[in-house]
Symmetry: C2
Subunit: 379 residues, 2 copies
């Protein structure tokens, strides 16, 4: 069966990137790789919209998140975490693992955080040293208001703004420098349309200032060591050279498209997906602020979301995602990021229609597809 | 210029593996990947010669080394480290970073450790909880006597035997279970002939027993979490799926060749390289126990080792390695591991002859090649 990868990570990798990575291996200290890293680090600053260092780590996104805790905070430090899903929760767990005292702002799944809660918490306790947020909460399909939170944190010179943008960077607008984001993590296998294996972290000067005081143990994720290596176009440890070669190709393609065009494309595909689902009478899981990265759709009443996810795969070769934890069986999810275009939406929407029809749903085939087409036709 | 990768990691990757990795991306929770992980984890046990769990981590080898410290030891624990080069030194640095009290057995670079020193240290202080060793010290080209050290550590039920086998596993015989190795780390980019990006760690039951008492912070390199995931043919965090697909192919090829045949091949190639160098009047850097993984050759008196390394690359397209730290300019290094065969040795030896000739050395061209051929002709 022909296969289609429409999961919220790993996402599809273009033939151009696959073939670039299939070339003979470069040595990580060879001049060719040094030249490539010099280009890649600048292109990463471009997609991050930053002048800050963007470190390149060999790990999943979680490794980058771990370093964002261990390099800047000490046991006993007080921080805020925004927990409105699996990945917000991960910040809390990471802080706890490192003895950092995380005060959680619990947000009901499916909702975005209200920035005024962060404002209030910071006003109440000016010793808070960091605010950990999630730009796109992959588990719920919600985008949190990073810009507004950034504006608030800017007012606290001893407090860092940390963003998990693993499934957000390169999908919609996130302005690292303008919005005052001190530390932002992403991974290779989402909008960057690479295989998993690399994490990236931008670090502001404000954050580097805190790093000198941080007392947690670290060695592999030692950001200062990575910064010093990167200044010489190297990495502290052996880089995943083939993935970096792929990154170079992927960023080249995104630069050719243009950042605003990438955002517009993903936004349009996401909108078409959402409207098609609504046109079919399905509910989106997000109650506000849906993320353009991933569309989380509630299974219609009486239908099992896990079955929809399984039928998509087994009957039609489409790898989407089910729900995690409390959402298992209640939602299924479709990605709108990375190496993806018009007909990925058409495939997804038509397959969802066919799966539901097969499960006995009374929908009229083509309804969602037609709505998606209307939107996709617009400039 | 045609390029030849003969560095001690990353090593060459076969076309079969490159093409396997160039296939469309699998999702890390998809049934196809689960089946693949089940096969790969058994094949890893095969190459490790173990019944122990072999964890699969997304990191360079150093990440696997870090987890081998943080998961099994606590601040204040006393351990022994064998430091006879850059990688032995890394164990000490890692222990120090995690507050573990490392007593170093300093070994002169170019020499293997004398196991009786370890015996004496353990007898003197029975509170020592671990012995950290390096199977093949890539910086010096020396193989330490892991089997003999393992026999000693077996006598201490509260002491773990930890081996960095990053450039050793899959090159020469290391019997995890038979030799009593509790924790052994390797990486993808050496004998496994994959791009960098994966680390592997075997963990014995004796080591799991210690893990429950270990108090160091960890999250990304949480070995118990990885063990639990692996029992369900999963990984705790998003795996580097394309590299794991390559691993599956690489292990398949090694199994077809047979483990003893792989060892014999690498051993013969290494012997041919060493004898060719000696026949040219060059000295090997190891004074005893040369590793079959990498041959470290002293630059002849009056010749700069860095210049030899550079000329190999610039004049002949060959990426070898120079010397690290105190050996910079004094040695150059050629790999004998991974996807490598007869004519890789011929290329290396003939290029070294041509580079030295070009630098004014009075050698007779073809001398080393002839000696290598004699050995390579033998069954």
């Amino acid at each position: 069966m022909k296969r289609y990868l429409l999961a919220p990570g790993p996402t599809q990798v273009s033939p151009e990137v696959l073939l670039a990575m299939a070339q003979p291996i470069l040595h990580h200290r060879a001049p060719e790789f040094v030249t490539l890293l010099d280009r890649v680090k600048k292109d990463l600053q471009w997609i991050y919209q930053t002048q800050n260092d963007v470190l390149i780590l060999v790990s999943s996104g979680t490794g980058g998140m771990e370093g964002s805790v261990s390099n800047f905070f000490s046991p006993g430090d007080k921080v805020l975490t925004v927990n409105g899903g699996k990945f917000g929760e991960r910040w809390t767990k990471l802080c706890t693992a490192y003895g950092v005292n995380a005060e959680e702002i619990k947000v009901e799944w499916g909702h975005a955080v209200n920035p005024s809660q962060i404002q209030a918490a910071l006003e109440k306790d000016p010793t808070i040293k960091g605010v950990f947020t999630t730009a796109s909460e992959t588990s719920t399909g919600v985008a949190h208001p990073i810009r507004e939170i950034g504006e608030i944190v800017k007012g606290y010179p001893n407090c860092l703004m940390i963003v998990d943008a693993v499934s957000a960077l390169g999908v919609f607008d996130i302005r690292t420098d303008e919005w005052g984001i001190d530390i932002m993590v992403t991974g290779s296998q989402k909008a960057l349309a690479l295989p998993p294996g690399l994490a990236f972290v931008s670090v502001s000067n404000k954050a580097w200032g805190q790093a000198d005081k941080a007392k947690n143990a670290k060695f592999y994720f030692n950001f200062k060591k990575e910064r010093d290596a990167l200044s010489k176009n190297q990495t502290a440890f052996t880089s995943a050279v083939s993935l970096v070669v792929g990154l170079d190709q992927s960023l080249k393609m995104m630069k050719e498209e243009g950042l605003q065009n990438v955002f517009a494309r993903c936004g349009k595909l996401a909108l078409a997906t959402r409207e098609a689902m609504k046109g079919l009478g399905l509910n989106l899981f997000p109650k506000n602020c849906p993320s353009d990265s991933v569309t989380a759709i509630e299974a219609p009443e009486g239908y099992d979301g896990q079955q929809i996810y399984k039928d998509l795969r087994v009957k039609y070769g489409i790898t989407a995602a089910g729900g995690q934890d409390q959402l298992k069986g209640k939602v299924f999810r479709i990605a709108n990021m990375g190496y993806i275009d018009t007909f990925d939406v058409i495939i997804a929407v038509s397959a969802i229609e066919m799966v539901l029809k097969g499960m006995g749903h009374p929908l009229k085939l083509g309804t969602g597809v037609g709505i998606a087409q209307e939107i996709l036709l617009k400039k």
